[in-house]
Subunit: 313 residues, 2 copies
C-alpha cells in the first residue's frame, strides 16, 4: 500500500524556468488524487509518467489562477484520450460557475461525466471517502475563500495470519470476529489468543496540504499528528511584512504550525519567484522544526506502512 | 534589425514530456509578437529569457484549447508584474466573449488595458500595421474557424551613405528626396548619381504561420515567396486519412504548399503525440520540398537582412 505525494509544481503565482505552478499528486494505493492544478500540470504529469486516466479526483484549494489554470487543458486532454470514467472535482464556491462558463466555448462534448462538488471554506467537512482514504477540508485564511485538505487513511482491521487459519482449521464464519480482535476456541476447547492469530493493523497515514494561507493557528486542530504537512512558505522571515500584506506565510511560520501540530515532517513550497536559493527558507524553518524539507518540482515523499503493536502483540 | 521566430511549443493537442503546446514568438527588431498561446507558454517564455513586458501583441489562430489555454496565466502574470502597457489580442469570433467570461472570475482588476480585436476567418485582412511590420490573416480550413498570419516587413527607403552627406555637403532638405531615389546636383552643378549616394533598401522579410488546417491550396496566394513558412504537419503520409478526418495536414502536404508558394524555408510542427521520431516527417516533406525543417521546442530561425541591389547599384 503506497502513500506518497509527488510535487508537480513548487512556485507561487509566477512560474520560473525551474518551478512549475502549484499541484501535488497523492498516491494512496495506486489511487491518484490531484491537489490543485496550476498551468502546466498535465505537462508535469506526463514528465513523471502518471497515466492521466488514473486520476478520478481533483481538489482545488481556492480560486486563484496559479492553482487552477491547468484544469482547462487537463479536462480537454482527458477527452482527447477518450476518457470514460466520471471525473470528480472538489472546489470552493464559483469553481462550478467558472468551469461551466469555460466549457461553453471548449469541449462541451466531453467524453466523460463531470461532477463538480462545492465546499464551504468557513468550516471543516468530510468531503470524500472511499475504502482507503477520507478527505477533510481545512479552512485557511487568504485573500479569497481557501481550504487546505487533510487526507487520512481509513482505520484498518487486524490482519489474520494465513498460516494460523490452516494450523487451527478456522472456519470462514469466525474470521470476521477474529479480525476485530476476538480470541478463538478450537473444537477441543483450546483457547488461542487473538495476538497469536493476527497481526496488528497498519497505522492510518495522513497528509495535509495547506496553501495558500496567512499564518493561522486555527489550522493546528485539524492536522494534529499528521505524517506529512505541506504548508506554504511564500516568503522568508525578512519579508514577513510582505507575507502579511499578501495573506501568505513565511517559512518560519510554516515551521511553527508544524511544531504545534506535532507533524512528522514538514514540506515547504509555493516560493515567491524572488528567491533563487530556497535553502535559506529551509534553514529558517529548521530552526523551529528540524524535519523540514524545501520541496523541488518532481520530489516524491513517501510515508512507510507500519503496524501498530500494542501491549498484547 | 532582427527578424526571427522562436518555437515555444511544437506539439499538437496533447503535450508530451518533450513538446509544449503551440506558440511561436516573432521578433521584429526587438518588437515581440506572440502567435498562439498554448498552456505553458509563459513557462517557455521564461525558459528562453523573454521579458514578458516586451510582448504587446498576441495573435490567436483559432479557438481550440491547445492554441489558447496559456493566455489565462499570461494575462494574470502580466498583472502580477505590474504591467501598464496596453495589451492587444487578435483573434476570431468568440475569443472576446470567452476572455470576458473568464475574467469575471480572475483578475478583473488587470493593471493594464486589454484591447481585443476580432477578425473574420472568411477572408484575408490587414489586421495590424506599424512602422516595421504588417500582419495579414490567412483563411485556413479547420473544424472551427481558423486563420493563419502573414507577417511582412514594411517596404524600406534607400539608405543614404553618411560619408556622402559630408563629402558633398548635402543639406538636410535634400535627404528625403535622395532616399526616395533622386540624384543630387552640387552647388557647382555636378551631377551625383543616386547609386553613389545611397545603398539599396533592405528586402522585406516575411514569416507565415499556418496552423491548424487541412491541405488547402487557397493558402498559396497569400504566401507567395514568403521567407519562412510554418505549416502544420500533424501526421505522416501513412496517416493521411486521419489528417483528412481531423482537418489536419500531413508533412508531405505542408511541403506541397511550400513548393507551390515558392517559400524560402518550410518549418513543420504541431506533431501528433503518436510520433516519437519526427525525422520521418521531415524526410517525407523533404522529398517534395528540400528546405524543410522539423522544429523542436526552443528552435530559433532567423531571416538575415539583405539589400536589394538593382541594375543601377
Amino acid at each position: 500500500m503506497s502513500f506518497s505525494v509527488r510535487i508537480l509544481g513548487s512556485s507561487s503565482a509566477l512560474p520560473t524556468s525551474q518551478r512549475f505552478l502549484p499541484a501535488h499528486l497523492l498516491n494512496v494505493n495506486e489511487h491518484f488524487f490531484l491537489i490543485d492544478c496550476g498551468e502546466g500540470t498535465q505537462i508535469q504529469l506526463r514528465k513523471y509518467r502518471v497515466r492521466l486516466g488514473k486520476i478520478n479526483h481533483i481538489f482545488i484549494s481556492h480560486m486563484h489562477g496559479d492553482h487552477v489554470f491547468g484544469i482547462f487543458g487537463l479536462l480537454s486532454s482527458f477527452s482527447l484520450l477518450g476518457r470514460e470514467n466520471k471525473l470528480h472535482i472538489y472546489g470552493p464556491e464559483y469553481l462550478e460557475d467558472m468551469l461551466l462558463d469555460h466549457l461553453k466555448y471548449f469541449r462541451s462534448d466531453l467524453t466523460y461525466e463531470l461532477a463538480i462538488h462545492k465546499f464551504s471554506c468557513h468550516h471543516s467537512a468530510n468531503i470524500y471517502s472511499d475504502k482507503h482514504v477520507e478527505v477533510f477540508t481545512i479552512p485557511l485564511e487568504h485573500r479569497t475563500p481557501a481550504c487546505g485538505f487533510l487526507f487520512r487513511e481509513q482505520g484498518q482491521e487486524r490482519n489474520i495470519r494465513k498460516e494460523m487459519i490452516e494450523k487451527y482449521m478456522i472456519p470462514v464464519s469466525d474470521i470476521v470476529r477474529i479480525k476485530q480482535g476476538a480470541d478463538y476456541y478450537t473444537d477441543k476447547g483450546q483457547l488461542i489468543k487473538n495476538s497469536e492469530l493476527t497481526l496488528p493493523p497498519f497505522r492510518q497515514r495522513s497528509y495535509a496540504y495547506c496553501s495558500d494561507t496567512i499564518y493561522t493557528e486555527s489550522i493546528v486542530t485539524y492536522i494534529q499528528g499528521v505524517d506529512i504537512l505541506f504548508h506554504e512558505a511564500t516568503f522568508s522571515s525578512e519579508d514577513s511584512k510582505m507575507a502579511e500584506a499578501t495573506s501568505h506565510s513565511t517559512a518560519s511560520q510554516a515551521a511553527e504550525i508544524a511544531r504545534k501540530a506535532g507533524a512528522g515532517k514538514l514540506l515547504i513550497g509555493h516560493y515567491s519567484s524572488r528567491y533563487k536559493d530556497i535553502q535559506l527558507l529551509e534553514k529558517q524553518a529548521r530552526e523551529i522544526f528540524q524535519e523540514t524539507y524545501a520541496v523541488q518540482d518532481g520530489d516524491l515523499y513517501e510515508v512507510p506502512q507500519e503496524r501498530i503493536f500494542g501491549d498484547n502483540d
